[in-house]
Symmetry: C2
Subunit: 505 residues, 2 copies
């Protein structure tokens, strides 16, 4: 299986909910409205999943354009002020360019005196083929025991639709008046392989450009492009950043035959393996000086939060198919997944990577590895720590080959304050819909647009997932449970009500 990095997120900025007294908010009525429309919601999701909007495949670009058009039409039909914003072109390896899918923005109402939220999401998907190991046709949404299987169902089409249904549910004008400025944007439509988690793509530029126009009234940003950790609903308050490195060792001017030249040259691959082996200990300890020292210490309060999280280690192990994890207790495991840095060696470019055998001495090899960033690490400092360390390790080998270390991505982590009113509102909404306290969780991956929004708009962000823990994002047999889709829509309805009652700054 190939994993693509999440190219992005779908962002929806939402709201301008008139603050009406709580007792006039008829949640039950809205909830029944959602229940009575659920077949229609599933059908819309089926229509959307049927569009193979795989942004990693340039040949599917017309499907991506069609997906954005469908999204825009739907929002327009609902009375939104919709725009398709051009964010430029994508350069292909052969030097040709292809248009990036336009960003869809939609605004429902406008009133600077009311709370205005922006919801972000995406409607492009990861690649999927039946022969990859899907039990059903990936682009034909299939309901099996209440699970809706299809590529993009959970990542991120159903959450986007849940927000759209929320707008629709409020529109028939129940007990409260609503105005939603709604933004649907397609994110960076490129897979990690081409344009990684830097977030430095057309979308970033668009956010900066529209800072004082489209985004001017936005008070909060909501991202629903993640998932729960277990069957318990969750609010996500942090993501790790990522520093991605290339370490290139160059020797002879061309590849050499290992029979003819083996024994005469210091092989670049031997050097590269040697320095890579100094990054991590067998037990996963990062050996680069300074990295571990920069990590914010785990507070007692935080420890307690981890302790309270619902998480079953055994089912996690069986899900990924390993007999033993890096840590055997919940707190250590979750902490190292979310709030400690990790080093992963992804692979080596330039060496022989095909099946079978080949007797080559590769002349130039480039290792790809990355270090997930957490508070209080600083990518600029990490860059120096890693390069200084590798150069010094390499120097000890006294190799005539040339080492070049470069950091090609330096994405910062994002961390929210779980005591912020946005999160308090989230807890209240979860409590109303699911009658439980949400897990407060983090995401081990990187969602660079969160940081971009925060930095550009200066506004607070909440990540509010509705996807299940076992939805199989980026994997075969992705699904969205009907339960999560429908109850998730109700959660968004309840959440907007709570947000509307926050004190306006």
């Amino acid at each position: 299986m190939t994993i693509w990095q999440l190219p992005s997120m779908l962002l929806v900025v939402i709201s301008s909910v008139s603050p009406h007294p709580h007792h006039l908010f008829e949640y039950d009525e809205l909830s029944q409205y959602v229940d009575s429309h659920q077949e229609e919601y599933v059908q819309t999701l089926r229509d959307w999943v049927a569009v193979e909007s795989d942004s990693s495949d340039v040949l599917r670009r017309p499907d991506c354009h069609r997906m954005m058009d469908m999204t825009a039409e739907k929002l327009q039909a609902m009375g939104g002020k919709v725009e398709l914003v051009d964010i430029g072109v994508q350069e292909l390896p052969d030097g040709k360019t292809v248009a990036l899918p336009k960003v869809v923005t939609a605004q429902f109402g406008s009133d600077p005196n009311k709370q205005t939220v922006c919801v972000y999401g995406h409607v492009d998907v990861q690649p999927a083929k039946l022969e990859d190991g899907w039990a059903t046709e990936p682009y034909n949404l299939t309901d099996i025991n209440g699970h809706l299987y299809g590529r993009g169902a959970s990542d991120n089409k159903a959450p986007v639709l849940a927000w759209i249904h929320t707008v629709e549910a409020y529109q028939p004008s129940f007990v409260i008046t609503i105005f939603f400025p709604l933004l649907l944007s397609t994110p960076c439509p490129l897979p990690m392989q081409d344009l990684p988690e830097t977030g430095s793509n057309g979308l970033d530029a668009m956010i900066v450009a529209q800072k004082d126009t489209f985004f001017s009234d936005v008070d909060y940003i909501i991202i629903s492009d993640c998932g729960w950790l277990s069957r318990r609903p969750a609010l996500t308050y942090g993501t790790r950043g990522n520093c991605y490195f290339f370490a290139e060792v160059e020797g002879p001017k061309q590849d050499l035959h290992s029979g003819v030249y083996g024994g005469t040259v210091i092989e670049p691959m031997t050097d590269l393996i040697g320095i890579l082996d100094t990054l991590i200990s067998p037990s996963g300890k990062i050996l680069i000086p300074g990295i571990r020292e920069a990590v914010a210490p785990l507070s007692d309060e935080e420890w307690k939060m981890y302790q309270d999280i619902e998480f079953d280690i055994e089912s996690f192990k069986s899900k990924i198919g390993v007999s033993q994890l890096m840590y055997s207790n919940k707190v250590d495991l979750l902490a190292h997944r979310w709030r400690y840095p990790t080093v992963t060696i992804h692979g080596i470019e330039g060496a022989f990577s095909g099946p079978g055998s080949k007797t080559v001495i590769p002349a130039k090899v480039i290792a790809k590895f990355s270090i997930r960033q957490v508070p209080n690490m600083d990518p600029a400092v990490v860059k120096k720590q890693v390069t200084d360390y590798l150069y010094s390790v390499f120097a000890k080998r006294k190799s005539p080959n040339k080492l070049k270390v470069t950091m090609i991505i330096g994405a910062k982590p994002w961390l929210a304050d779980t005591k912020h009113p946005l999160y308090e509102a989230g807890k209240a909404a979860v409590k109303r819909v699911f009658d439980v306290e949400p897990d407060l969780i983090r995401e081990g991956g990187t969602i660079p647009i969160a940081k971009t929004f925060e930095d550009v708009t200066g506004k607070s962000i909440i990540m509010m997932p509705i996807g299940g823990f076992d939805d199989g994002l980026h994997s075969q047999n992705e699904k969205m449970s009907r339960y999560n889709y429908i109850e998730g829509t109700k959660l968004f309805i309840a959440y907007l009500h709570e947000v509307a009652h926050l004190k306006k700054d």
Copy 2:
């Protein structure tokens, strides 16, 4: 640049030269005959190079068949008893099969009382494209200052033609009567990537099958599928063998996202890098216990032989483009190239190997590495040494991942006695044509068919190269010098005369 393993060699079994008194052998007359035909020889080479008989490319298979047909026709026109021997099919990765090019055998005369030699060579070639960095069209033989540039010119079409010219030169019946049983065979037409140096292919089976028929009268085997070390002519008396290993580390049941899972699993790539780093020291010392101990000690006599070889370290360095070699003196360098084992790590399958970046934790990674074999190493013992060592190193890591080490090729080295009459005859022929003593050299690469011939027929083998040291085999801008081609033909003529006078066993 991609290097393909020499798929093979062309083998020519030659001779039944009537032993006539030396003084009746008019070398000068034959030499003039060759000189006067050199334009014709170059034209034939041009015709042969024009056939893109790239055996690594299945789409070029018709060209390979045509090349064998052309070869057969030429030998038939010369009066040889020619056969095209079917050696079966090649299985492609998709399960389909494609016919292997037939082996051409040719016999010129037959007389068990006379010396009969078998010459082996090949007429398939490595891949070549103008855009790889060729200065001329690779399949259009181009004469620049006496160098004939073209794919396959040196490897191995000109040497094969030189043997054919040798037969032709003798045929007009000069002072000696000749009978040549001549065999032209295409070797394993598969690149290393598919069917490596095991030699276990259709050709091996054919040699075994025809042991008591075609090969029954053969006294000696001559291979001219190698090159000189410098401008001085050379005889080759040894090749290294090769043990090729796969080391597979398997962890999770599928690739994982490094953000989402990094920090929770012991990554197979970290384990693999860790064990690979224990194979070789930074200075190239093999760390696997027992390997170095098995190597035959360098005798004083051998040391002296190396000392006498003409070899310029500086031009070798500039040829491969490195500032420093593994050893700075000639004897150490040549000895480690030819008569000491080396470990090369070729690459890793299953990890990310493309350009750009990808945030994957590969679930299963397979390192490919090989150890060149020299006397007195035994592939079966090496297999045990390597696997025992890697399993013990891996066990110390206490990883939950699974390691599997397999040896997929175990080709033995080949070593001839330079005091053998075949070599004495070679020295005399070189002396006659070039008026110098030949360098006695080895080949760092592996020519498994040499060992097959030796093992199956029990006959002695000599490797007699005529290609230049800078012919660029397997590389861009391959060439054969006109000088080497023409004087090489004369060398073969002189050599057959010498062989004819060896004492018949």
